[in-house]
Each structure stands twice: as C-alpha cells, then as structure tokens.
Symmetry: C2
Subunit: 193 residues, 2 copies
DNA sequence: CACCCAATCTTAACAGCGTTAAGATTGATT
DNA sequence: AATCAATCTTAACGCTGTTAAGATTGGGTG
C-alpha cells in the first residue's frame, strides 16, 4: 500500500480526476488513458474497478448528479419552512443557475439518458433522478397545503409542466450561442407561475 | 464520371449516408471512415469536401435542422389563417412529436451548441434557428392581433417562456428512461397556456 | 509463521479512429 | 493537345478502447 504497486484508493481518484478533466477540457477530451495517467497508473488499471469506459463515465455522472441535488436541497432549505411555493421557486432558480454556472454539466448529465423519472404522483421511486424527486415532493406538499385535489392526469400534467419549464430554461440558458442579458431568475418566476 | 474514380456527387451522398448511419446506429457510431465506406470511397476522400469530421457533422446537422423547420412550417400552415393561437399550439405539438418520433435527433441538434438564437423581439436575425424564428414571428403576430403592447423585457420573457416550455417538454419526452403513458399533446396545451 | 488466493496493477497487442502528406487520376480550360 | 485544379487513393502517424497474459501484493487460512 505504501510502495505504489497497489494504489489503495484508485477507484475514487479515477472519478475525481475524470471529473477534473471534464471540468477543464470537456467531456469529449476525457479518455480512459488520460484519467489513468492523471492517477499515475497504467492505462488498463481502471479495468479492475470499472467494466468499461462507459461504466466509469456513469460513475462520474452519478457524482455530478448527487452534487447537483445537494445544491438544490441547500437552496430549498434556505427558505422559511412553510412557504412551499417559495421553495419551488428557489429550486427552479438554483436549477437554472447551477447549469448556467457550469453549462458543460447540463450536456453531461442529460444527453446520455441516465436520468430516470416517474411522473406517477401516487408512488415514490427510489431510483428516480434526485432533483426530480425533490420537485415532486414539493409539488405534492403544495397541493396538500392548498387543499388542491387534482386527478391523477391533471396532477401529472402539472408536474410535467413545472419540471419541463425549469428544465427547458436551463437547456436554453446553457446553449452557448444564446445570449440573454436579462435576468434568468425573472424568467424562472415568469414560467413557474 | 462514369467509371468510379470521380464520384460526381460525393458531398451530398456523404451527408445522406451520414444521416442514415445516425438514424440507424446513433451519432456516436458515426465515423468518417464508415461514411466513406458507405459511399464506396476511400476514407480520406471526404477531405476534398469537408475541412474535418466536425465540418461534415455540422453539414448533416444543418440538414436535420432544415428538415425539422419544414415539418413545423407544414404543421402551422395546416391551421386556419387567422388563428394565431392555434398555430402556436400546432407548432408546439409538432415540435414535441417530431423529437418524440426521432429522439436521437434531439440530442444531435441541441447538444453541440449549433443553435443560434436572439430573443430580441425588435429585430429579425437571418442566422437564427429557423424553428425559433417561426415561433417568434407567431408570437409577435399574436400580440399584434390581440392589441398587446408588451415592454421589451416582458415580451422577451414571455417569448422565452413559450419556447422553453415546448423545448423542455421535448427534452423530457426524449429521455429514454422517461415513460409517460399520457398524451404529450395535452401536456403541450397545458404548458403553452 | 508460511502459504495461497484473489484483487490489483503492468506490459503487449489489436482494431478502429481522425488527420496529414504525397502521389495518382480525371474533367474541364486554354 | 497540353495543362491545371479538383478529386480520389495509399501510406503513415498518434490517439483511442479493449482484451489477454503475466507480475505484484495484502489479507486470510492452514
């Protein structure tokens, strides 16, 4: 463990170095060999920890996904306890600002189809995209507080509307050829309703 | 021109074969060499027509972009002349259904930042994404018809809301891990307003 | 303590990729 | 008929992901 042959903590460092490369050079510049070199290890060592490259990228993606969710939770927790509407707005703002700060993460998270989601408002799904699960929870909380009893169809449509609004703004704000000198926060407000 | 050394129409066939490969195997499976082989030509012949691979992919992307716009125009033209609201709805529906039919096109069009867009409602921009230009036109038409005089800020926000709603739904409808057995048309209706 | 095994890492090799360089072929122009 | 520029070919380079076979090592068993 001391003397280099066995790294000791390779799997995690591969993820960290991979993330660093994506941040600095973009996802397309990420290669198995480069990550290994960054860890000071031969280019096939990673196969002891990941099935293939895609498996490693997926692990990195899950790290980003958790990091994203953590930011959303933080934003929501900063709002006074009983103001569900404000919490939803706070989530929407952070959702957009997170990706506005790191546009590459948007592409990285959403373009390879890892995001699992169930609109079904009558059940919870452990495997769902955490950011979505949080939104779903807040939405149900809001309905409950306001005494709204939506049909399943109405509720699902409204949930989709909420998420797609915010997600759509993030998608557009991330396009590097889109310039908008207004305030994205205002846009979010205007969209969520 | 007859006897094979000079292909005669290579550039266009490269685009067509490239598009075919993307449709059948996905963008990541597209290679310069494979497209060339599909055209029955050596793997460097394409360099007479495209600067590099990215240049060829961009050409393919512009083809898809035009094809997409054509579909939207067709949908809009199918609506009675003076019903602007219905036209916008028709555009939204086709926007989503187009990508729902070919999910790979969504990623292909939007994840490499080719889409240029100006929200500025006081000018027209030739180079803008044609689908967006159409929406912008309809939006201004609607305001005019209804005698709405929005400030520049309000107008831009509303335009963004319109587009991001539709775009967001398309983005979500395209994720292969998202299953929704409701009608996306209803979702579009509910979002556009 | 000695042994062994399984996990971990290395080197070697393969096919596929984009790209460049140098040369062959051709249709069109002079 | 000669020439030239556009077009296509072959050869080579360095990079990529992946597999196979072997070296190294730490932990658990006798």
């Amino acid at each position: 463990m001391l003397d280099s042959y066995h790294h000791g903590n390779l799997k995690q460092e591969l993820i960290e170095q991979g993330l660093r490369i994506i941040n600095k050079e973009g996802e397309d510049k990420l290669s198995f060999r480069k990550v290994a070199a960054a860890c000071g290890v031969s280019h096939t060592a990673a196969y002891a920890h990941f099935r293939d490259k895609n498996d490693m990228v997926t692990a990195i993606r899950e790290t980003v996904s958790r990091q994203f969710a953590k930011e959303l939770f933080k934003a929501v927790d900063g709002v006074k306890e009983d103001c569900v509407e404000d919490k939803i707005v706070a989530l929407g703002r952070r959702y957009v600002s997170f990706f506005f700060e790191k546009p590459d993460y948007f592409k990285f998270l959403f373009t390879n189809h890892m995001v699992k989601v169930h609109f079904d408002i009558e059940k919870e799904y452990e495997e769902d995209f955490p950011a979505f699960t949080l939104l779903k929870k807040l939405y149900l909380e809001m309905n409950k507080k306001n005494g709204v009893v939506a049909t399943r169809e109405e509720g699902e449509r409204e949930l989709i509307r909420l998420w797609s609004s915010v997600h759509g703004i993030a998608a557009i704000a991330c396009m590097d050829s889109v310039e908008y000198d207004g305030d994205w926060n205002e846009v979010v407000m205007n969209c969520i309703k």
